[in-house]
């Protein structure tokens, strides 16, 4: 019974204190509203800026993911290390998780279509390319293995290129001239969007064997391989990395002490698994090249790295906005100090009537908290509204819950923090002192 009445007494006291705090805010509506606005602007800038950053990050992510995260690109940066076209099939044999692979030759050449001439990017690949890079055709067909083996003069056009040339009519069956030779157009690829998927929309795709003829070489500079999933791709990237590390050690222009080992390695289809019996080439024998002549890249890694960078960017934006939020907090402190000095005499009367120091401290802390709480709510609404406007201008945005969390914690935290000093100063005014002042 006694304990219950104590709790009741405490509640009565607390509710009244909470009410007095609310009265405090209402006693000067304009001033409170301005303080709330200060906090709200801080919160809105955190939510808004981080939302814009987050939107930009997602946008970049989508672009990268359109390239396919289960695709591995193996690229030679040095002519001496370029691949034989057979290498693609060989790698699929050696690395279990690779499903298929295509040699890639990229070049640019002159193109003529009826009376139009211009430069065009040409991509030479094999018949598996649409599957590897997830391309659909909207007209005609892709070239076949036979076309590749016979070095046929056939071409598939990217979407934008086809539209620009044929102006809406299907160019399938027409003839296009590349590097002075006539190619029959077999099909048109589906649109991927400007800048996406290596800008395939603006390219001409032909068999790599045919492209080698334009380039006048027997090797290819790149191999694209595909795995079943992006997780497999990460695994395969590691395996491929090991394979090429070994092979670089025995590249034609680099003398290596144990030539025998090398050939065994390349020949054996199960070599990947048998690692222990093969002595690793001595580190000292690997020529120090400033850049790896062959790089094995899985988009996942790239995406992760870029994503990381973008996240940091977003956080940075949030950090800058947090400064605005802290300034809002200072506004609270300022207004609370004014309120305390204005109400000194009231504080004295309340003390005389039996208010404890803790009552007054609670009252002023609550008052600061109310202001920051209203500020937080207004700020979130304002921020989301701002993001909507931004979105209407065509930018991608995202309401980030991280941002809201940060804003809420920092705003309420700074409200409390900056409320503490005024609250303490209110509670420590001696009652006589407070009564003496009018």
């Amino acid at each position: 019974m006694f304990k219950q009445s104590l709790i009741k007494a405490f509640l009565v006291r607390f509710c009244f204190t909470a009410k007095m705090a609310a009265n405090g805010i209402l006693s000067n509506v304009l001033r409170s509203a301005l303080t709330v606005l200060g906090v709200a602007i801080g919160v809105a800038s955190v939510v808004g800026l981080m939302g814009i950053g987050e939107g930009a990050r997602l946008n970049v992510m989508e672009q990268f993911e359109s390239l396919g995260t289960n695709v591995i690109a193996i690229k030679a940066h040095d002519e001496n290390y370029e691949f034989q076209p057979d290498k693609a099939g060989e790698l699929v044999q050696r690395v279990e998780s690779l499903e298929m692979a295509t040699p890639v030759v990229s070049t640019d050449t002159t193109m003529r279509w009826r009376r139009t001439t211009g430069e065009v990017y040409v991509l030479g690949v094999n018949h598996q390319f649409p599957e590897i890079r997830d391309h659909e055709l909207i007209a005609g067909d892709f070239f076949t293995q036979l076309h590749v083996e016979q070095r046929s003069a056939v071409a598939v056009l990217g979407y934008s290129l086809a539209i620009n040339l044929a102006g809406g009519r299907s160019p399938v069956g027409q003839i296009i001239s590349l590097n002075g030779q006539s190619y029959r157009i077999l099909g048109v690829l589906e649109e991927k969007g400007a800048g996406n998927a290596n800008d395939i929309d603006n390219k001409v795709v032909i068999p790599y064997t045919t492209a080698q003829r334009i380039e006048e070489k027997r090797t290819v500079e790149e191999i694209w391989a595909k795995t079943a999933s992006s997780k497999d791709a990460e695994l395969a990237t590691v395996q491929l990395g090991r394979i090429f590390q070994r092979e670089i050690g025995s590249a034609p222009n680099v003398p290596l002490p144990s030539d025998g080992n090398e050939t065994v390695e390349v020949e054996g289809p199960d070599m990947v698994m048998v690692e222990k019996p093969v002595p690793e080439p001595d580190k000292a024998d690997i020529p120090t090249i400033s850049r790896d002549p062959i790089t094995v890249t899985n988009l996942n890694q790239l995406v992760d790295e870029i994503d990381q960078a973008n996240r940091i960017m977003t956080l940075l934006l949030g950090g800058i906005a947090t400064v605005a939020l802290l300034v809002g907090g200072l506004g609270i402190m300022n207004i609370m100090l004014v309120a305390v000095s204005e109400r000194t005499s009231e504080i004295g009367v309340r003390r005389a009537l039996g208010a404890r120091q803790t009552d007054l401290m609670t009252q002023f802390l609550l008052e600061a908290l109310y202001v920051s709480l209203i500020g937080v709510i207004c700020g979130i609404v304002l921020g989301i509204w701002g993001l909507n406007i931004f979105e209407n201008y065509g930018f991608q945005t995202a309401v980030s819950f991280d941002a809201i969390k940060i804003a809420v914690v920092v705003a309420l935290g700074s409200g409390l923090l900056f409320g503490v000093y005024p609250a303490i100063s209110a509670s420590s005014v001696p009652p006589v002192e407070a009564l003496r002042r009018q």
Binding site: A352, L353, A355
Partner: protein, 230 residues
Amino acid sequence: MALLELNDIHKNYLNGNVKVNALKGVSLSIEDGSFVSIMGPSGSGKSTLLNILGCLDTPSRGSYRINDQNVEKLNDAALSDLRNKFIGFVFQQFHLISGLNALENVELPLIYQGVTGKARKEKAQAALEAVGLGDRLYHRQSQLSGGEQQRVAIARAFVKNPKLILADEPTGALDSKASENIMSIFKNLNEEKKITIIQVTHEKSIAECGKIIYHLLDGEINYIEEVQAH
């Protein structure tokens, strides 16, 4: 037994750079149920004495016992509770809280006692009716005359049934008619409710409403006068 006992109370404070000896060894004891007036010219220390009696200020030296407790030994919470339960204050400037109406002002001390809703309202209403303000319950400070404000303040002081009411120049800001009214309320509280009243004033006629007058001069009790007129 004495309700209050002051023993050799000194109070010094700094006014700018000047050290002021407001009280220089005041000793007095006040019985339960008495009506005491304190008089003296300005600067004689009468307000300082009243603040110390009300536990609003602490003496620099000396001991003060109220209701058998040594005030020096109490912490803030205990002092606050003591002020809340035993002492009612009436000030010259009334000091009502501006955001609250008359009823809410009178409810204030009860809130700090933890009295809830209906009981609190009834008590406060009864107190206001007792000072003749039954029709002014929901008026705010700005809608009340000086005399009415002071009556609200008195209702606020006695609503909790204190042992002691301390009044600092309670009629200082009022005309003579309102002053008379206030004094009759005080007499009533003293006689009917047996509440001890201590008031500071510099008006002889007001002081004589009490039964005993302490005359202060330069921080010391100059002489004590018994009022015969009653």
